[in-house]
């Protein structure tokens, strides 16, 4: 089975026109891709739309995959770029342009504790500027190392580390703020 073939090989095969390889590759990464899209956009509907954008364009993109980076790194970059495109387009529609803006989900969660946790998450994400938010979306779930995230974002590794420190600083400030009020 193709299960034990690595991503990069599958990607190269797919790039050369191997349909089953393409399908196996996408199936393998779909769930993680969707989770990343959620972290980038902040709600299910947007995440689904973004995932669809990426799936629609993936075949063409894959032709440009040179195997110089890990496939996951490459896929993350595709996702982040697609998210930016999407936000650009959404910006013209005025509201909730840069993700984590909608609060539709809260109404469906009955458990107060969960609601509080999710509310806090939304607050935290909204407070962060978009570039920190994206950095966090890439690194938070043990998906990528700083170096890989740096590659995805097209910035230096040091910048990623600086951003993570900044995020921690801001979270701490938020926490202290909450503790004081």
């Amino acid at each position: 089975m193709r299960m034990d073939v690595d991503d990069e090989t599958l990607a190269r095969q797919a790039g050369n026109g191997d349909g089953p390889a393409f399908s196996a590759l996408l199936e393998r990464h779909y769930d993680r891709l969707f989770a990343l899209c959620f972290r980038l956009m902040g709600n299910r509907a947007e995440a689904e739309d973004l995932t669809q954008d990426i799936c629609a364009g993936l075949a063409a993109k894959l032709a440009g995959f040179r195997g110089r980076a890990h496939f996951t790194t490459w896929l993350h970059r595709v996702a982040v770029n697609a998210a930016h495109d999407r936000r650009r387009r959404r910006a013209r529609l005025k509201r909730a342009a840069d993700g984590w803006g909608d609060w539709e989900r809260a109404r469906h969660v009955e458990n107060a504790e969960q609601q509080a946790a999710i509310l806090w998450l939304h607050e935290a994400m909204r407070t962060l500027p978009p570039e920190l938010r994206d950095t966090l979306a890439l690194t938070l779930d043990e998906e990528l190392t700083h170096r890989e995230a740096a590659g995805v974002l097209g910035i230096s590794e040091g910048t990623v580390s600086w951003r993570m420190a900044e995020i921690r600083k801001r979270l701490r400030a938020m926490h202290e703020q909450d503790a004081n009020t």
Partner: protein, 654 residues
């Protein structure tokens, strides 16, 4: 508590919040991807006649080797990262623990969140119309491509038109972006309340015009802040009546003791159309004897969410309130409630004399967290209710950048809530700070329902105007639910048009309905409304007479009256309205400097909105008219207006 705790908490919350992909959507997306893949191979093979097919047999061995290679290099990467992390003196970032268990509720696909949001939007539109027009949650129908039809369509051939399914240009994502991709400027999410400008109406068909007064001034400050940034304001941000009412006028004050305000009517030649006249309605509130004013209870409800960071926001707000504090008297009381995520009372009701403790509380405010407007509002009202007492005036002053899209679960409910509190005698004013995500529409809706004013504060000078010079008008109501109804005499007036007040239009029958809310007049403030009328027989009449209309209206009146003015108002806190009536006669009043200046501003506002009815009358004429009507202008407001007109003129030329 260590830094990592918060990051770990965030990671866990993120885990919990991240939904599983919807199986249907997943299947759809995979199918779409495969179809596009097949289509793409088609285009490629047509373009390239010798495709390189992979060697099917060789993949296994090569694959394993590559995988092993990949594994080891990944391990190396992790090690590198740890080294870096250690080098900058931080804790291990990625605890190896598996994903936190997903709470069951979250794993279920949520039942149609988009549809619910749409429904909420619908409700909001109905309940807040016409004030809130654009403050809607994302509407799925706008952005969501119709995936079903896309998936069902046959794969496009090589020559198919570039639709969503034709991949190369569809998403246009370069694998290696030349620019730093993460530094997109945040989208501008401002929304403004406005309606279509009132059209010209035919007096014979629709003789009655009804509206609520509007004492807000926010639109002028928004126009100014746009112009000062070198941009013409978006037309929907221009509310002409608020521009006019921004300026202090010296209209005649009431003489009769029982009336808190006095209407003055002036009829003058329209500056922008020879064939029309203007009917200028001015209402001047009684100037209060300040030393006899009742004690004041103020609850500052301060938005300290993250978006309030920045010089134009929280720091300006603190300075503004400090200024205002100097206007209060020792027997007044002040409380401060903040809201950012969780609402909290920062300062319990405190006599205004205890300046140091109030100032200390103000100084300790910091920005952080998101905006939960509703919880804050509830708490502020609770505090206000505690403070309210006999003969006191109690008001909640909400200071925000207006970013209310978190925390309001149901705008209609919020509106009802505020309206209910208003009936209990607690008023709400809204002070807007900062630009970028100013939710003007919500601010308007809140202030209108709370019997309050909405003012926009962009400079300390503006804070001084709203909170010091005009404090009395901002906080002391002298008349509630002031409605104006003008009935035009079709024998004299062929057509009329109300300038501005688009968001304040009332149904004719609402004039006599005391349950219908309207604007309030504060102590010493004035309100201006201007109609443009076209006299019968004027060459400027826009609408031709109807061929089949029976011309029987001469029975109406041989009277020379142009119109009849009715004003309804309530005493503050009262339930029953009183009525003032007066005929409007041709040539009434005198077009003094105040009248002419307000007309110049009305013209300016119309130019900014496109100047449909101005017949080429534009900035130079507005500047000339305003310059000739500056009067004393002790605070320099009118000079500033002229300056802004000139800026707008040069911007419009570009």
């Amino acid at each position: 508590m260590s830094d990592n705790d918060q990051l770990e908490q965030l990671r866990k919350a993120m885990h919990a919040a991240t939904p599983r992909p919807d199986p249907d959507a997943k299947a759809r997306h995979l199918r779409l991807a495969e179809e596009n893949f097949a289509a793409f191979q088609g285009t490629r093979q047509n373009a390239r006649h010798t495709p390189e097919r992979p060697e099917r047999g060789a993949w296994f061995k090569k694959g394993v080797l590559t995988m092993l290679h990949a594994l080891s290099s990944r391990g190396a990467l992790v090690a590198t990262t740890s080294a870096i992390v250690a080098a900058v003196g931080l804790f291990t970032l990625w605890p190896g623990g598996g994903p936190a268990p997903l709470p069951g509720v979250l794993q279920k696909p949520l039942p149609g969140p988009a549809a619910d949001a749409g429904k909420a939007a619908e409700t909001a539109r109905e309940s807040l119309a016409p004030a809130v027009t654009e403050d809607m949650p994302r509407s799925a129908s706008v952005t969501k491509p119709s995936t079903d039809s896309a998936a069902a369509a046959p794969p496009p051939g090589p020559s198919a038109a570039p639709t969503r399914k034709m991949i190369p240009a569809a998403t246009g994502v370069a694998p290696f972006p030349p620019e730093a991709p993460a530094l997109q400027p945040g989208g501008n999410t401002e929304t403004f309340a406005n309606g279509d400008p009132h059209p010209v109406r035919i007096a014979a068909e629709e003789p009655v015009s009804t509206f609520s007064i509007d004492v807000d001034t926010a639109s002028w400050a928004i126009v100014r802040s746009s112009l000062m940034r070198g941009k013409l304001p978006p037309p929907e941000a221009v509310r002409i009546e608020e521009m006019i009412n921004y300026f202090p006028y010296d209209y005649p004050v009431p003489t009769a003791a029982e009336l808190p305000f006095r209407p003055t009517v002036t009829v003058l030649q329209s500056p922008w159309n020879e064939g029309t006249q203007l009917v200028h309605l001015a209402i001047q509130g009684r100037k209060p004897a300040l030393e006899k004013r009742p004690p004041l209870n103020l609850v500052f409800l301060i938005d300290t969410s993250g978006s309030m960071q920045g010089a134009g926001r929280l720091p300006l707000l603190k300075q503004s309130f400090r200024l205002m504090l100097s206007q209060l008297r020792p027997e007044d009381r002040v409380a401060i409630v903040t809201y950012a995520g969780s609402a909290g009372t920062v300062l319990p009701p405190t006599p205004a004399g205890a300046r140091s403790s109030i100032l200390a509380a103000l100084d300790h405010l910091g920005a952080g967290g998101s905006t939960a407007g509703q919880a804050g509002l509830q708490q502020a009202y609770a505090v206000a209710e505690e403070m309210a007492g006999n003969g006191n005036v109690t008001r909640v002053l909400l200071a925000t950048d207006g970013d209310f899209n978190i925390g309001i679960s149901d705008p209609a409910q919020l509106k009802d809530y505020i309206a209910g509190k208003r009936r209990n005698g607690i008023y709400l004013s809204v002070l807007g700070f900062g630009r970028g995500n100013l939710d003007d529409a919500t601010m308007q809706a809140l202030a209108q329902n709370g019997n309050g004013t909405a003012a926009y504060i962009d400079t300390l000078a503006e804070a001084r105007k709203v909170l010091v010079d005009q404090l009395a008008g901002t906080v002391f109501p002298i008349a509630d639910d002031v409605k104006i109804q003008v009935e035009f005499n079709p024998a004299q007036v062929a057509e009329y048009r109300l300038i501005g007040y688009e968001t304040r239009a009332l149904a004719r029958e609402d004039f006599n309905n005391d349950a219908v809310d309207a604007g309030e007049i504060g102590a010493g403030t004035s309100v201006t409304a201007i109609y443009e009328i076209t006299p019968v027989g004027s060459p400027a009449i826009l609408n031709d007479p109807l061929r089949y209309e029976s011309r029987t209206s001469t029975t109406a009146s041989e009277s020379a009256e142009l119109a009849f003015l009715r004003i309804r108002w309530k005493a503050p806190g009262g339930n029953e309205s009183r009525l003032i009536e007066t005929p409007i006669l041709p040539g009434a009043g005198e077009a003094n400097e105040d009248v002419r200046f307000s007309v110049a501003i009305a013209g300016f506002g119309q130019i900014l909105k496109g100047g449909k009815y101005l017949h080429g009358w534009s900035y130079p004429q507005a500047v000339a008219l305003a310059n000739g009507a500056r009067g004393d202008d002790p605070f320099g407001y009118r000079a500033e207006a002229v300056r802004l007109m000139r800026i707008a003129e040069s911007l419009a030329r570009q």
